[in-house]
Symmetry: C2
Subunit: 336 residues, 2 copies
């Protein structure tokens, strides 16, 4: 099933069930008002939501209304955890190669993750407010999952069973704040403003065979100012699957229902031709990666970061060509 | 007023108002069931809680019952944000001196903070489950505040107005996991398991003159296995006050109601005698600091980290000698 959260002026919005084709929706009132409530008691509540979903898909839900992603908050407008991985090692390799630093061998066995702020997420069509262009505004197109309870010391396989929903994320990053911040040694903080999520979050069965053991085998499209810059394959090059990412968190603590875990920037390796030249036909899921490639090839980056009023659209289509999660489609604006 | 959250089998527990002397409590049922609910609508709900608090203190609350901190969850059993500072630069200086690295000059102007996990906090008397003693188990005695909404780009003075409640924290740390984790460059993650908080959180007026512009001028006591190891002054040596810490978060994002912001390990400078020898008469608020001092003075640490079944008690008394927040009093146990 597909779930979304509609704006109603409250902090957590109203849970709605959305039809498979994203054309209609229905309030889940009477079942659960908020998505967190459903996650807290998933075994009891999700079958009721599933029933409503089927009625909606059959065109028989009496109070259905046209679905409008502009009315969406993030599926979880605020969450108890947002832990983001860097599961595509190719991205790490490129960024490090650009600054002439090697990728430590342990990075291939031990996931890199950071803890993000989760008190104030953006809806899929909300503006992205940033104080200054000079901060180096970048998008990061990612896949994210929402978990149920996963116990401390769970294995990656056990952690896979704890995945409830999948969605897309725009992990907005302020690149020019990152070097000084990481040099302080405590990780990202001011360089990661509010993250945005796709209009709907979907259960695993919606992905069909495209979901395979913690990886989504579909293409993540990123369109910057109307120009398609990324058509990245999210499946085969995901070094750590979502079960491994969740198990990484679980090493020393429980993961509780409603935790959001991100994949990090989806990234594909370049292709080296007979002439020895490498190209990246699948494009990029964040500008930093494009700039890293330019630095490796030309000695310096030429693509600039985002400006106020730039737009970014992030979407993923299923094997049937239909949008799975709806599109993240946002404008960067000056924070006032 | 003083607020706590009683265990009731649910994820968020039940909000109770606790008398000033911590002897009695009263359910806030009919006003607000959960502390987050009160924080979400503080202007409307807090005066009603305050009325109940006064009735309780006057011995006139009809359904009052004896307060028992063992029934407490963390005041916020799970939160939308837990951002912990390192506001006592003396602590940073000692830890860095022990590993012969300087404190960068910027650390005196720009707070050091990390984003912590907030989906699964521990109550004040809950056991601390850790998978292995070899992880290097340490306590960290801290002060923490809970905020209302604070807008992006707020000044430290504006941020001070956003502080709703104050409490104590035990930011449990796994020291032997830290070096490898920080070397990865993304900050703490597995080295910071679930944090515990004091039985009650209190409004600023409860601190009277001990609260001065974002600092708590009282002594934080840490007792390890029954031995008092820390009697640290929390006020004068707090390099960055809570308004500055919150404003640091606000540089690029909004801080939303129910965010918890920590001070980092409370730490006091040593005293150098006429013989040129430095001692630390106020003790320490985490073992890592004691070990840093030993390393600086003797070339190596001799105090070992905590073992399973060790206990740690963290408490702060007001000018009247009474416990302000109740005591964090926990046992370290092996996670199963």
């Amino acid at each position: 099933m597909k779930l979304a959260t509609y704006k109603d002026g409250s902090r957590d919005g109203q849970l709605v069930v959305v039809s498979r084709d994203l054309s209609t929706a229905h309030y889940a009132t009477g079942i659960a008002d908020k998505l967190q409530q459903a996650l807290d008691d998933w075994g009891f509540i999700s079958p009721q939501l599933q029933d409503l979903y089927e009625t909606l898909n059959n065109g028989k839900a009496r109070h259905a209304f046209p679905f409008d992603s502009r009315q969406c908050m993030a599926p979880l407008p605020r969450a108890y955890q947002w832990a983001d991985g860097s599961a595509y090692i190719n991205h790490v390799e490129l960024v490090r190669a650009a600054r002439k630093s090697d990728v430590p061998g342990t990075f291939y066995a031990d996931p890199l993750m950071y803890q993000g702020g989760s008190d104030d997420f953006l809806g899929a069509n909300d503006d992205v407010p940033v104080p200054k262009e000079a901060y180096g505004i970048d998008f990061e197109a990612e896949i994210a999952v929402i978990t149920g309870d996963v116990r401390m010391m769970s294995t990656p396989e056990q952690a896979l069973d704890g995945i409830r929903l999948v969605m897309l994320a725009n992990d907005v990053s302020l690149r020019n704040l990152i070097p000084d911040e990481l040099a302080k040694g405590f990780g990202f903080f001011q360089s990661k403003p509010a993250t945005a999520f796709s209009p709907v979050a979907v259960t695993l069965d919606e992905l069909g065979e495209s979901w395979d053991k913690g990886r989504v085998h579909l293409t993540l499209q990123s369109t910057w100012n109307g120009r398609k810059v990324g058509m990245c394959e999210a499946g085969p090059e995901m070094t750590f699957h979502f079960g491994q990412l969740i198990a990484h968190i679980c090493k020393t603590r429980n993961v509780r229902a409603g935790s959001i875990v991100g994949s990090g920037t989806v990234s594909n390796k370049g292709v080296t031709g007979a002439d020895g030249k490498t190209t990246w036909p699948k494009g990029y899921s964040c500008i930093a990666e494009k700039r890293a490639i330019e630095t490796i090839q030309d000695g310096k980056p030429t693509t600039e970061f985002m400006k106020f009023h730039d737009t970014i659209r992030i979407e993923m289509k299923g094997l049937d060509g239909q949008s799975v999660f709806g599109a993240i489609d946002q404008e960067i604006v000056e924070a006032k």
